[in-house]
């Protein structure tokens, strides 16, 4: 037992766990000094995330642009049909009644009416309350119906029949005709549409999956390279007393940081790319007037966070491998 107490024998302690900021400083300094290499790694992340973001944002923009185009066509058809019934509306007053059409359509319809020069638009409910003798050019009924006798008319300009009913309404304010605008897609149309929608969704899921895979591979490849290049340095650090956990932490911090910067920039590139392509195709006015800002912001966040996660996940293997390396082996590598 006396040997334990021998002065030459110092008990072995536990290695000091360094605070986070030490690892952080080493990472920052490393990135700065190896700027060229860091940029190459960063580029890998940017490329992957930009690809993913461009696919997602293009899908979103496409949806909103085609919705916008359809809406514009529809409003134009409604206006055309109304004008056919009433003649020019400039300076005239209109009553309007909407039961079923989404507010966005109604808003756009009213906007279009104002462009036609309609001087006053009143809702039916308001009209009922008002007790006045005034000439309204028409009572526009969007969806739903008004009681009373009606005639049918079909629009030649739309593929779907736009059904309108007019009547010289004695029960309504003097001289006004009732124009009912209602779009009734056929069952066949509905079926066609849902098939198209489904195959579109399948394709989108497929493309996004591929994009995520490409992003993961691009990121992990870049990080794997940057770890492999540093085996010697890792071996050196271990000789100097670095713990495996410290080595691992360094790679995780670096990956997360490069992942964050890379995917933030990458998302921006991806978004700019799809905005540019769609603006060139459909015109910037159409694209920006219908921009799904909330969805795009969400996609931006998802891609950025996803990029960071991908980077950290991609770093698990190389970081673990590096931290487990026997110093002698690590020091032998010559890259």
């Amino acid at each position: 037992m006396s040997t334990i107490l021998h002065p030459a024998v110092s008990p072995i302690g536990n290695q000091v766990r360094l605070p986070f900021h030490v690892a952080w400083e080493i990472v920052i300094q490393g990135i700065r000094i190896r700027m060229g290499r860091s940029l190459v790694t960063l580029f890998g992340v940017v490329l992957g995330v930009a690809f993913l973001m461009s696919i997602i944002s293009a899908g979103l923009i496409k949806g909103s642009v085609s919705g916008e185009i359809e809406l514009r066509q529809r409003v134009a058809a409604m206006i055309g049909f109304l004008l056919a019934d009433t003649g020019p509306l400039s300076g005239k007053a209109l009553a309007i009644h909407n039961d079923t059409i989404p507010n966005a359509t109604e808003d756009r319809f009213i906007e279009a009416l104002r462009r036609e020069g309609v001087s006053e638009i009143v809702s039916i409910d308001e009209l009922r309350v008002r007790d006045e003798q005034k000439l309204y050019a028409a009572i526009v009924v969007i969806g739903g119906s008004l009681p009373g006798e009606i005639w049918t008319k079909t629009s030649p300009s739309l593929s779907h029949p736009l059904i309108a009913f007019t009547q010289p309404a004695p029960s309504h304010p003097a001289g006004a005709s009732v124009v009912q605008l209602e779009r009734e897609p056929s069952a066949e149309d509905l079926k066609k549409q849902s098939v198209a929608q489904k195959s579109d969704r399948v394709r989108t899921i497929w493309i996004v999956t591929i994009a995520i895979l490409v992003t993961m591979i691009s990121i992990s490849n870049a990080l794997l390279m940057s770890v492999t290049e540093r085996f010697r340095e890792i071996g050196t650090m271990k000789c100097l007393g670095a713990l495996s956990s410290f080595i691992r932490r360094i790679f995780f911090i670096e990956s997360a940081l490069i992942g964050f910067i890379g995917s933030f920039i990458g998302s921006a590139f991806g978004l700019i790319f799809s905005l540019a392509v769609y603006s060139a195709t459909f015109g910037p006015g159409l694209v920006f007037s219908s921009l799904p800002v909330v969805w795009l912001t969400a996609a931006y966040l998802v891609c950025t966070v996803g990029g960071i996660l991908a980077a950290v996940i991609a770093a698990i293997y190389p970081a673990d491998f590096a931290s487990r390396m026997v110093p002698a082996t690590a020091l032998r590598t010559n890259i």
Binding site: A8, I12, L18, R232, T236, L240, A242, S244
Partner: protein
């Protein structure tokens, strides 16, 4: 400090070492490298004792196993067979954490290719092992500056290794090896990449450290100048220590033993 049963075993393991004068001991150390089908027997049973405060050289032809032995007695790799005791501790009994603690405080390493951390300044290279040992930044800085002055690198603290000559880099490596007041300095061909004159300066620096600080210097080398300064020389060949000699027993004109 807490002494667990495991540590106790580790501590007792080397107690057969005949006296406290023995700092490193290897018993029947074998190392086999497997690369695919092929097996390389880099060490075929090396047994040795190195005394505290000794200046020891390991010499031998290329591929004889010097670096492998260096790794074994430096706790940088585990033997395939046999035992290594450093400061009476059986290295094989240590876990990763304890190994890190051990490398950090007990041994200072010097390599043929310097192995400085390229992204750090000279001073940071020297303070790095101190921060691993938990020395606070200010104290580490002070000691780092002192050490760099000691090795003759006065005003070059803030240079990156790439901006220094080979000899200067090796000086930084020596300062770094001394950072945590190790008992052993292990050097693998420290002068191989240096010119004649710088090599000599390096050798006198190591001799001075041994004489003044009493550290044990163990170095693998081909360099005759280094052999001359040694207390003892291990001649290794094909993975076994063939001879142990004193410099006086070597004919330096031919590089052969008498």
């Amino acid at each position: 400090m807490e002494v667990t049963p495991k540590k106790l075993r580790a501590l007792l393991a080397g107690s057969e070492c005949e006296s406290s004068g023995c700092i490193t001991r290897a018993v029947g150390v074998k190392k086999v490298y497997r690369t695919g089908e092929q097996e390389t027997h880099a060490l075929r049973g090396a047994t040795l004792q190195i005394h505290r405060g000794e200046y020891l050289s390991i010499m031998g032809p290329s591929g004889s196993g010097k670096s492998t032995l260096f790794n074994m007695i430096g706790a940088l790799s585990k033997p395939s067979e046999g035992k290594v005791y450093i400061d009476q501790v059986d290295v094989a009994q240590l876990d990763f954490d304890e190994l890190a603690w051990f490398r950090c405080r007990k041994i200072g390493y010097i390599f043929q290719s310097y192995n400085l951390v390229a992204t750090m300044t000279c001073l940071e290279n020297v303070t790095l092992p101190m921060s691993f040992a938990g020395v606070d930044a200010e104290e580490a800085h002070e000691r780092g500056v002192e050490l760099l002055q000691l090795v003759g690198l006065g005003g070059r603290f803030l240079h990156k290794p790439s901006e220094l000559s080979g000899g200067q880099q090796q000086r930084v490596a020596i300062a770094r090896a001394l950072a945590n007041r190790p008992e052993i300095i292990l050097a693998d061909e420290p002068t191989a990449n240096l010119d004649q004159k710088t090599g000599e300066e390096m050798i006198s620096l190591l001799t001075k450290l041994r004489n003044e600080l009493g550290v044990t210097v163990i170095s693998a080398t081909h360099d005759l100048k280094m052999l001359k300064c040694s207390d003892r020389i291990f001649w290794i060949r094909d993975g076994v220590i063939e001879r142990v000699a004193r410099p006086s027993e070597i004919d330096f004109s031919s590089g052969e033993f008498h």
